[in-house]
Symmetry: C2
Amino acid sequence: MMVDKLILEMKKSENIVILPHIQADGDGLGASLALGLALKKMSKKVKILLEEPISFTYEFLPGKELTQLYSQGIESEFEKYDLAIALDTGDIERLGKRAPIFEKSKVTINIDHHNTNSEFACFNYVQAGLSSVGEMMYSLLDIMELNIDKDIATCLYTSIISDTGGFRYSNTKPDTHRIAAELIDKGVDVAEISRRVFETNSLEKIKLMAHAINSLQLYEDGKIAIISIGEQTMKDEGATEDDCNGMVNIGRDIQGVEVAIMLRECDDNSVKVNLRSNGYLDVSAIANQFSGGGHKKASGCIVKGSLEEVKIKLVDSIKKALMD
Amino acid sequence: MMVDKLILEMKKSENIVILPHIQADGDGLGASLALGLALKKMSKKVKILLEEPISFTYEFLPGKELTQLYSQGIESEFEKYDLAIALDTGDIERLGKRAPIFEKSKVTINIDHHNTNSEFACFNYVQAGLSSVGEMMYSLLDIMELNIDKDIATCLYTSIISDTGGFRYSNTKPDTHRIAAELIDKGVDVAEISRRVFETNSLEKIKLMAHAINSLQLYEDGKIAIISIGEQTMKDEGATEDDCNGMVNIGRDIQGVEVAIMLRECDDNSVKVNLRSNGYLDVSAIANQFSGGGHKKASGCIVKGSLEEVKIKLVDSIKKALMD
């Protein structure tokens, strides 16, 4: 079995580097830290190599001392490493500037849950049905009979809640909850982690939210909700791209709304578009019309034009789709 | 054991009325519908008597055909009932106008998880350590060996997520997750229920949110966040008291905030105050100073004066407390 091969490779190796995808989220980061802490217990030399600094949201995670930030020229430092493990990474491009370090490693392992995984390593362990790599990692550490302590449990729990929206997405299976139960048994602080991951906003984001709400327009008897954020507003509020995350949900969550759109004006006379569907309308088909892509319920595209021009095009396209 | 007595009483009775507390929330309503559906399977005649209509949020719950809305003069209808069961109800006052119906019933049962429960029934089954009556009800139906079908599971799951904030509060225990796993195994639609319970806002609430954010003021280097909503704003937006629910969290969730205050201007030159603490400050002590009450992390009071006057008093009191 693949799992046995992975375990054998980990046991054989002395120097191990772990690489989550670029812009590591709660799942990639949590699973990396959990595995790092577990390998440390096996007396391995471990580095978790990150493309960007850990975001404020995940600063509370244990195991940070195992992380190192990528910088140009550090490739040589990793030449002596005998195993590289990519986590939560669908293809080699998602390792960004760290891809050469992964590729030059003697042995490579790829542990992932994306159904589009390109199996780019020597050993590929992909379980597309699972909510998170955190869930996969729990089972792996369990098979390895490694003692999952409070720190490792905290990392795994964070992985799982990040990728399930706190047990709210349809990828939440009975076993997801069973694993959460085991992790809480190890001492995970549910309320504190939930607060850190889900209930902490920057002041800039909150202020941006007010602008977004004030820009709200409804079409087709409230079935279509549009929110737009201008470039000047972003500058005025000192907001970052990160602060725009999830803003489309303001429209999506309004009673009666079928399709929500968020328009974000960019510098170059183009508009970044986020689309969400609450029901039957497939918004990936809408995004496709504008050379974008995504899923049935969440998609995106970038469209040339002013906010007003793009808004008219999109509303028009969605109106037609709603009539079909 | 108390559980055996309850089961015996339910088995003996033919006509059973179930009463959740006034302004029934997801837990009270979900547990009532679950028990109602289960008793139906035992061929009992069941009514779930409600003080108010089911709110939009919980309209999707199965078993609505068992509910009846209280109206004056219906007391006589329940004279022939041989068992009344109060759910999620800390004391008899929480049954509102339905209290006499409960009290006149031949046998009464009280199933609750509030540690302040006054044990007002013939049979009182109180488990203060549990997250929700939904969790208690799951165990009860399990002991009764009643087949928990998808409809009952949907009601119980809604109970549990309502009272744990979707597995985010500190009352979420390992067994809470184990029960959730069993319920999802019965076919609960996790994503749809989560959307209904947590991700549906009225348009009025969203608009009120923008006003609230625009009113935001920070004190003490961003440790204190105050949001105020004027009576005129409520009228202008056609907002209800319900729309104000959770608004205090806008302030609480801002990075660096220790204490969040929401002020809601009332008609009679008084201000309704909500207080939330993120950390060490006990906001029930603040509320006590103004004849209010609550918990360490969530409290409230009503203070005479204008929005501005009340704001000054509260900030002053919290500043002092932060210095202690």
